[in-house]
């Protein structure tokens, strides 16, 4: 044991570790050593007097140069990326509207002045209040907004048909008479 409390093996291992740090970091003086650890022209003093075994140096250099890092195929990389993205999507909590794909039940309350006669045609009865909406991304959200605007415009469009004009006139005159009778002027 030495004064540092380390035996010879540990000290050798420590020296090897330092050497590997430098070797893998590409320290210039180490690159001047030959393929088997012998000192080059500029590397004198770094080799023969070093406590590190020449054979260990040579083996280190061989492994540093000869062991490649592998990369999987591009196809595998992308396939796994897709799987991870799917797993991530499943983990995500609902964030802002339009930022994720979630099925959400949106409560719909009838607007004031709601006209049941002018309700959306409902062929199969599935258009009941409180139906689920599938909100899938910003494009879908935009499409819903456009659909809402179109629906609003359709509901409030000026009708050119004589029947509709007559109905509106009758409705208007009735409500006008009711208002006047309420004030006692008629």
């Amino acid at each position: 044991m030495t004064v540092l409390g380390r035996d010879g093996g540990e000290i050798e291992a420590l020296v090897t570790d330092r050497y590997l740090d430098a070797l893998l970091a590409g320290t210039p003086e180490l690159t001047q050593l030959g393929p088997h650890g012998e000192a080059g022209s500029g590397g004198a003093g770094t080799d023969s007097r070093s406590p590190l075994d020449l054979a260990v140096r040579a083996a280190s250099r061989r492994l540093a140069g000869d062991l490649p890092r592998f990369h999987p195929s591009f196809r595998f990389e992308e396939r796994l990326a897709v799987r991870l993205a799917e797993a991530a999507a499943a983990m995500r909590l609902p964030l802002a509207a339009g930022s994720e794909s979630e099925v959400a039940r949106i409560p719909v309350t009838p607007p004031s002045g709601f006209d049941p006669l002018a309700a959306f045609p409902d062929e199969d009865g599935s258009d009941a209040l409180g139906r689920p909406f599938i909100v899938r991304g910003a494009v879908a959200a935009s499409a819903l907004s456009l659909a809402g605007a179109a629906w609003y415009a359709w509901r409030h469009r000026p009708s050119g048909s004589p029947m509709a004009r007559a109905a509106r006139a009758a409705h208007g005159s009735r409500s006008g008479r009711r208002q006047l009778s309420g004030t006692g002027r008629v």
């Binding site: 540990e10 050798e12 291992a13 492994l63 062991l67 490649p68 890092r69 995500r92």
Partner: protein
Amino acid sequence: MARPVFGRTGAAKDAVPRIAHLDRDRPLVDAARRDPARFDALYRRYLAQVYSYAYYELGDHHAAEDATERTFLSALANLHRFEERARPADGEGASTFRVWLFRIARNVVLNERRTTRRHPSEPIGETTIIADPLDVESRAVKNEEALAAWHAVGRLPGDRRRAVVLRFVDEMSTAEIAGVLGRSEAAVRVLIHRALRSVAKDLGSRS
């Protein structure tokens, strides 16, 4: 990169600055925790390293792909359980996330070995290396010296081989390898030193 950050923990004027070492992957890990879709950046950063480790351990591309897939899926699912524990001793460039990820990879590979009953010290066979003549990776290691080094590493016993692969292929620090293998740094240094002696003797006797 693990970089020291100075900050005051209290409002007292003479409070001692606290030094916290940040994991170099902290921004990516934080982003992935907020939004799991951001895990992709960590995946791209460590894919080749994890795959290489699995390939050196299992000696088969398909098995390595399976292990890699399981590693990353498991890491994503358990990211909330990861605790960053970077220390000054971990040094520059340390990543405790990488250590955590490789611990998962090590467990996955060990499980794979157990299920397939592979011999732990079986070297990667030459047939695997030259199986596909169009494979760039295979061509890279086809020369005689590279094959000799490859086989010498393959003949090392379990943890010595793992330590060498993590040190030379994945370029981990001794502290990181200690974290992955669950050993002390001194033990890892000795493991690698002995592994290099074995490799040197092996290469010397065959040349």
